[in-house]
Amino acid sequence: MQSIEQTLAATRMFRNLTREQLAALARLGEEVEYADGSRLMIEGEPADWFFVIREGFVALQTDAPSGAITIETLHNGDSVGWSWLFEPYLTHFDARSRGATQAIRFDAATLRVRCAEDRELGYELMRSFASVIVERLQATRLQLLDVYGRATVS
């Protein structure tokens, strides 16, 4: 298997990070594995972690009276969790593994402190996560358009 640093270097959202920055990030990561149905993140809990999926499938969910509703699913190369960057550092959704998921888990609490010291690293990471946030926002907008609603070929 690839080292954590290699995995990060191949992850699109981190393409702007320097070697040193990737190494710094990799030092805060650890390889983790989740069984089917286990939770990577729990809604409302402190957002002290974020993840990069190596191999697997993670569903972002929220509970409704009818049961858990999946809002979005995340896949190989996707990051899971951005609440660690923004006050009050609380997780917004459950992240649940579908099948076995291999991921890298990052110590976000420490990384936050590191970013405050190393503004360049902080800036690049903010850019990385901003690009993810933008992509997800665009996707959400598309979902809101409900384009398949009765507007397609007859």
Binding site: G149, R150, A151, T152, V153, S154
Partner: protein
């Protein structure tokens, strides 16, 4: 009268037919089996109808036309063709406003389907008094309906044996702009016979140019005499007069390029404030060809028909899609009509869709003037999206 039967009365020949022989011309055409249609006075306008004698033509009539205005008026002479085009065009004969395309029957067991194709008669029309702009309009509709893998049978049958007797304009209407569209006032091709009416004191005759053998064949039975240089000069003066008195002018620019670069021009909002989206312009336009079909069934549900009717890009449902109407604003519908007419028509059929007849200006209830709309965009073009 001095009757000269010319031996070389072929295409390219020019002769004189006296006013008094016009009935002879109409009779000769009818004698060849043509269904003769020409201008008449009806409903306070020049309209097309069956004509068997020159007395049924609008002798001594003219018209006054402007944006949203049309009035017949008496002339102070007995000119036969002393008016411009009216609300109708020849497309109503070649491309009828309502046409049954076919009928269908359920089979014996109630589940079958038998389609009975509508017969397509060939009425052998002779159109009398076709203006140059209208010859161009017919040629333009030919390009819509005839080429390709699926020519329109009804149009082709009506068009096939037609005799076109053109009249070169001496009296343009107030909304005419054929000179700037290069479509008149003198017929340059596409006619069987082309008449120029010369009326000068006692002298009243037609200078007749022969366009085809078919035209020559008709003319052979009509008293005529040789045309001299002076006659040709007199005829040329008639159309030159029309050029000089042309009511409107389309700006002499590449209209296609201008409009394609100005899809987002504020002028479309301006015209949308005035446009009622009534579709009059498309009904009177001699080239507008859009239709819709309507399917009907009898009460028992055993027989069905399909009718084709003129439709208009100004009607809301025209651009209907499953998710809504593609062109819901008047702005977009006027823009579709004008950009199609003057710009994308060129992409589709190789020519402009406008012949400068001015009908859309005259019959617009609020007097929207296509030449004025183009001028407004031209005077203040805004570079728009990169549509090409």
């Amino acid at each position: 009268m001095n009757v000269i039967v010319q031996s070389e009365l072929g295409p390219g020949a020019t002769v004189i037919v006296d006013r008094s022989a016009l009935d002879s011309l109409l009779a000769a055409i009818a004698a060849q089996g043509y269904h003769v249609v020409g201008p008449t006075v009806g409903d306070g306008a020049i309209v097309y109808g069956d004509v068997s004698s020159s007395a049924e033509l609008p002798v001594g009539w003219s018209d006054e036309q402007d944006g949203g205005t049309y009035r017949l008026r008496r002339r102070d002479d007995q000119a036969v063709f002393g008016y411009a085009v009216g609300p109708q065009s020849w497309k109503q004969f070649l491309h009828p406003p309502n046409l049954r395309l076919w009928r269908a029957r359920r089979g014996e067991d109630g589940t079958g389907l038998e389609i009975l194709e509508e017969p397509t008669p060939s009425p052998r029309y002779a159109f009398i008094g076709v203006r140059s702009c209208e010859l161009h309009a017919i040629a333009i509709q030919d390009q819509v309906f005839l080429p390709g893998a699926h020519p329109d049978r009804a149009y082709a049958a009506r068009r096939e044996d037609i005799l076109l007797v053109a009249v070169n304009c001496g009296e343009p209407g107030g909304t005419c702009f054929c000179v700037s569209m290069d479509t008149g006032p003198k017929a340059s091709s596409g006619y069987d016979l082309a008449l120029t009416e010369v009326l000068d004191g006692e002298r009243h005759h037609f200078v007749v140019e022969v366009g085809t053998d078919r035209g020559a064949l008709v003319l052979a039975d009509v008293p005529h005499r040789a045309a001299h240089d002076a006659d040709l000069a007199a005829a040329a003066e008639v159309t030159a007069g029309a050029v000089a008195r042309m009511g409107r002018e389309m700006p002499a620019v590449d209209l296609r390029a201008l409009l394609l670069a100005n899809y987002e021009h504020p002028r479309w909002d301006d015209v949308a404030e005035r446009c009622l989206t009534c579709g009059n312009c498309t009904m009177v336009c001699p080239t507008c060809f859009c239709t819709s079909v309507e399917d009907t069934a009898d009460l028992a549900g055993d027989e069905a028909e399909r009718w084709r009717r003129w439709d208009s890009c100004f009607s809301l449902s025209f651009s209907h899609l499953t998710g809504g109407d593609a062109r819901s604003s008047s702005r977009s519908r006027y823009r579709q009509w004008m950009t199609h007419k003057l710009a994308t028509w060129v992409d589709q059929f190789g020519t402009s869709g406008c012949v400068g007849c001015g009908r859309c200006i005259t019959w617009c209830p609020v007097g929207i003037d296509i030449t004025e709309e183009v001028s407004a965009i031209l005077s203040n073009p805004t570079p728009s999206a990169d549509a090409t």
